[in-house]
């Protein structure tokens, strides 16, 4: 047993089930995720991956079973409750802040979770200006590193499907958090960008060994080289590979 597993899990599911009408998406799913873990959920279309990610992040309430985060029962909590405890996630269908520029999206990610107060925003004291300058430099450096420098001023709503997906990974890579949940992080990306996305996720996780990362994907090849634990999900039933 690794040393991280001696600690209490960051996330835990106990016999979680979820159905939509007669379709059972999750069937008595139980597993735990510990600090420092890199976990992949692999399954085909309609296997229940997104339902599982939604249950893990509070976007869906399970019919039965218990969800724990940081040892606290979290079944009926709003996604904001999970976010306040360090949960950060991307979505299967990439969501973007459409009327914000790419640079602003990244600056926002670098600021979270604490927003400056209205007072500091109005007065803009030296510590606020210093942090804002640092955030902008960090965001610009992240854009330059992936050859997106010329897209800094482009509204996120003007990006293509794949570019929005990549932007959501870029945002995640700059944000503070303890658990990252990525739903199909490489769907719609070419092999180069998929590889860059994986590197960004690696970078986020290795920046702090207490962080855990969970990826839901259909692409076993993508996860086999990096993830240290792989769960296969099929018809809502989860098995360790």
């Amino acid at each position: 047993m690794s040393s991280s597993k001696l600690l209490s899990p960051l996330l835990s599911l106990k016999s979680v089930s979820k159905s939509y009408g007669s379709v059972r998406c999750l069937d008595a799913v139980s597993f735990s995720v510990y600090a420092g873990e890199r976990l992949a959920l692999v399954g085909g279309n309609g296997s229940g991956k997104t339902s599982l990610v939604d249950v893990l992040s509070g976007f869906t309430v399970p019919d039965r079973g218990i969800v724990y985060m940081n040892g606290l029962r979290a079944n009926r909590h709003h996604p904001a409750w999970f976010a306040a405890r360090g949960m950060i996630r991307t979505f299967q269908s990439p969501r973007a802040f459409e009327q914000m520029t790419v640079l602003d999206c990244l600056c926002l990610a670098a600021w979270v979770p604490t927003s400056p107060s209205t007072f500091s925003s109005l007065i803009q004291p030296p510590n606020y200006r210093k942090k804002e300058e640092c955030v902008r430099k960090h965001a610009l450096a992240a854009l330059t590193a992936v050859d997106w420098g010329e897209r800094a001023a482009v509204p996120a709503g003007e990006l293509s499907y794949g570019q929005r997906r990549f932007l959501s990974i870029l945002q995640l890579s700059l944000a503070e958090g303890t658990v990252a949940l990525c739903d199909e992080p490489t769907a719609g990306l070419d092999s180069n960008k998929a590889s860059e996305a994986l590197n960004l996720l690696k970078g986020w996780q290795t920046a702090d060994q207490a962080r855990a990362i969970i990826v839901a994907t259909h692409d076993l090849e993508f996860v086999s080289s990096y993830f240290d634990r792989i769960l296969r999900i099929e018809d809502g039933i989860v098995n360790e590979i």
């Binding site: 904001a80 969501r95 009327q99 914000m100 926002l108 600021w111 400056p116 209205t118 925003s121 944000a175």
Partner: protein
């Protein structure tokens, strides 16, 4: 000359209203029609504090702004629960209820007769009674309000507001989960509308419910949408256009009833054409989906 100062005063007051409404429409993404209710609250509260409690102008003004900001919080909560068209309908219903209360709470508001003899803006012995002094004071307040809003909307905090506006689910996914920023901004916008009401009440010295009705709500919304929501000069330009329409009609030679009728026809037509051909407004601001 007094006429020009009078129009300048109106332009300043409506700039404060449009800039504050733009915080709600352009930066929070809430198409609310109850902003003139906050305008009314500011005017009535400040007038009541000065007439009944004999409080000096600065204290009345401060209390009216703070009270309106606090009263706006349940409205902010309701607007957050509602989505899309429901916000428009809900806020319009709230405006109708407010105007009805102003008409019927006669002991407090004077009913349809309104409140008369509201003292002018005064700081100790110094009273602003001339058209010029009141207009200059209002322009100064409007300029400060505009600068404060620009400071806020070009800050890091604005990114949090815009994220909540553009996609609340993606925002919470990125750990933008705090709602205090939303409530603070809503209260700030309402407080600014109250400030405009305070200035208006002291300028006109007489207020009644008809000033704050649905006509005013449509005019304020038109100012923001015509100029361009979430653009620095959008609401200012919108206020200038909407204020100018009746004045131009008047200059052409219409009487008061003629001005009123033509004003609404022209404004309706302008809004209609803009909705079709320029949905982002003249300066190209935030677009409702």
């Amino acid at each position: 000359m007094n006429y020009l100062w009078h129009v300048s005063f109106l332009f300043a007051v409506f700039t404060i209203l449009a800039v504050s409404l733009d915080l709600l429409i352009g930066h929070l993404g809430l198409l609310v029609l109850c902003h003139s209710a906050f305008f009314a609250l500011g005017a009535y509260l400040s007038a009541s504090f000065m007439l009944s409690a004999h409080l000096p102008f600065p204290v009345s003004c401060l209390f009216a702004i703070l009270a309106t900001g606090v009263i706006s919080l349940p409205v902010a909560f309701a607007a957050r629960r509602l989505r899309g068209d429901a916000v428009v309908l809900g806020s319009f219903a709230l405006l109708l209820v407010t105007v009805d209360l102003l008409k019927n709470l006669r002991n407090l508001t004077g009913g349809l007769d309104g409140l008369r003899g509201i003292p002018p803006v005064h700081f100790g012995p110094v009273q602003l009674v001339s058209y010029q002094s009141q207009a200059v004071f209002a322009i100064l307040i409007a300029a400060i309000s505009w600068l404060l809003v620009q400071r806020l909307t070009f800050s890091a905090q604005a990114r949090f507001l815009h994220a909540l506006r553009d996609d609340p689910y993606a925002a919470v996914g990125l750990r933008v989960y705090s709602t205090t920023i939303y409530f603070r901004t809503f209260a700030l916008a309402s407080g600014m509308a109250a400030l405009a009401g305070v200035l208006y009440a002291s300028y006109a010295s007489y207020i009644n419910p008809s000033v704050f009705g649905s006509d005013q709500a449509i005019a304020l919304t038109a100012m923001v949408l015509l100029g361009g929501a979430a653009r620095p000069w959008g609401p200012v330009l919108g206020a200038l256009i909407v204020i100018s329409i009746p004045e131009i009609v008047r200059a052409i030679g219409g009487g008061p009833s003629y001005v009123g009728a033509v004003n609404y026809v022209v404004m309706g037509l302008v809004l209609f054409l803009f909705a079709i051909y320029r949905p982002k407004g003249i300066l190209g601001g935030y677009e409702f989906k």
